[in-house]
Structures are given as structure tokens and as C-alpha cells.
Symmetry: C2
Subunit: 205 residues, 2 copies
Amino acid sequence: MRLHREDVLAGALGLLDQEGLEGLTMRRLAASLGVGPSALYWHYRDKQALLEAIAEEIMSGVADVDAALPPRERTAELARRLRLALLARRDGARVLSGTYVRLPNTLRFGEVAVLALAATGVPEAETALAFFAVQDYVLGHVIEEQSREHQLATTDRTPTPDAATTGDYPAIGTAIRHWAERTPDDRFEYGLRLLLDGLDRRTGA
Amino acid sequence: MRLHREDVLAGALGLLDQEGLEGLTMRRLAASLGVGPSALYWHYRDKQALLEAIAEEIMSGVADVDAALPPRERTAELARRLRLALLARRDGARVLSGTYVRLPNTLRFGEVAVLALAATGVPEAETALAFFAVQDYVLGHVIEEQSREHQLATTDRTPTPDAATTGDYPAIGTAIRHWAERTPDDRFEYGLRLLLDGLDRRTGA
């Protein structure tokens, strides 16, 4: 059987979902596909290239936001769609962070986001600063969100400190108990709104 | 020679700086210290516990911000100090993300930050939402920053797309060329200011 590039990518996605990013090695991937490692390197020159292909797959369709939305809402929707795309894949945020993909889905996401930001009134020289500020927030947020899920699922550690562990630090203890009552969506929206309100001030909206 | 807990931590920090997070395995650490793996597990029950100790070490002194600063500036300084502490250690941001440490340096950072946010006028029920929004941004930003440095140092990939790769996406291409002219500090400050301005709006400042 000939091994196609798509088979390698599909195998990598399957292995990622099963084992997480730590378990995704070229050796294990080759074994799971029943080939030698050199068969993988024929299609992807190194693991980084494979991670870029996975990142590009994660970004598929994320840019497909309703162009008729007002620009602030369009920016918010792009951030929400990015979060959901990352959450849909095990360790999605850790895969995407640090890949710097220059492939169509990823570039188109940047293009649509920068145009939305420009339409809110952000000066052209600042649109990438604003874009990366929002993207950095989404990445950091989802990395924390996915790590928390993973810890809940696999260890006896509870990611929410209880009163006993925060006894000497009452303010963070109380604050986190309020935080624990909010939904994951609420928590994400809070930071997103801060950024968008900050952009409003910047553009005089 | 008896192996102390501090020796294990010092060895782990050395291995992290040399090899990065991927290269920090319990097996390699034991070998570098000239002991068997069981000697490590005597001090740290698993790799996660060791990562928590590293994270706690990274957070040492980060909360030591001037309490006389106005609360908005105090919040900004805490975010800046967190970024610098993460940058000081190879893969620092990736180590810290997802550790959920409940050790004194980390708890004190949360305590000081939550008190600063409360002093800006953020309602008690929202202080942790605001705290994590800022922390998520810092983590995401520094993860990207450290990955970019690493790619520049080790591969032939340039993390800044050039005109050729963004030909069909002119807006993101132009935006990134502006972004490339800014300093790393400027890029960080831009997003931080958006968040703080958003908090100002929230508190009516």
C-alpha cells in the first residue's frame, strides 16, 4: 500500500487525539501507520512541518465569519471561533502556539481578522499588534483551559485551590471561588470584552 | 553522596535551560545527577510535581511590586514582572502554563494581583476573571515570543512572513511588516494596555 501525505496527516491527528502532544512522535506515528520513519519524512521533512500541517488543519474554516457583522462583533466572533477550533482538538492550543504557519487557512484567518480590526478604526500600523494581542489571549486562555481539563481527567489534583491551600492568601481564595461559579464561556468572554473595550478606547468608539 | 531535594530542582533547572521542556525527562535528569530514577521520585512523586517546583521557582519574587504604585500601574507592573520571569527561563511560559501551583510564590502573586485589581475598582466577584484574563494574555504572549526566538535560533524558518508567502493576503502581510518594526516590549505593552483600558471602562475610571 502506498502511503499518501493525507494518510500521514490523518494518522498524526488520530495519534494526537489519543496520546496528546507529548505522545505524538515520528517513531510512534510510523509504527501506528505500519511504515518505517523514512516514509514519513518523504512527506514531511521534520516534526515541525507535520505540526504545521496539523495547525493548518485546525484552522480550517475558522475564518468563515459572517462578513455582514459589524467589525467589533466580527472580531469577537473570530476569537470565539479560534477558541472552539482549538478546543475541538486535544492539546489544540499547544499545537498551534509556536507554529507560525504560512499556509492558506492560517493566512486567511489573519487576513480576515486584520481587515475586521482595520474596520473598527485601528490604524493600519497597529492592526497586527491588535491581532496578536487577541490571538495571544485566546492561545493562553485555551492552553490553560485544556490543561485544566486534562488534570481533572487524569490526576487527583484539583485545579481550583480550596480554602485549605489558600489560607494565608484570602483574597485569591475568595476570588477563585467566585471564578469557579462561572462557566468556561463566561470566563473567556470576560477577557475578550476587556480587549475589545480597550480597542474601542483606542479608536474612540 | 546523598541527593537532596534542592539538588534535584537545581539539576532540573539546568537540564531545562540546556535541553528545553521536551528534553526534560525524569530519566535524563536522573542520568545527569548520576542516580537512578527512584532517587528522584523520593523527592518528587511525578514529573508534574517537579514541574510545579520549577514553576514556583520561576515565580520567586515576581509579586514584589511597589505597593505604593497606583493600582492600575501596580497591575501593569505585575504583568511585566511575570513576563520577564518567564522569559528568564527557557520555555518558562510553557512550563508555567498548566501547572496550577498552590505554593507560596505563586499564591502570593495571585493575592497581590487580585488586591491590585480590587483597588482599581473591579468588583470582588470579578477579580479572578480579570486576573486570569491578564495572566492568560501574558502566558500566550510569552509562549509565542519564546517559540519565535527558538525558531530563529534553530531553524531556517523565519517567523515573519515575507511578501512572497502573503501574496494572496495583502492586509496581514502589510500589518506584519509594521509589527516587525516594533520592539518585543512594544508588542507586549500594546495588548497589556488594551486589557487595562478595558478594565478602566469596566470600573468607570
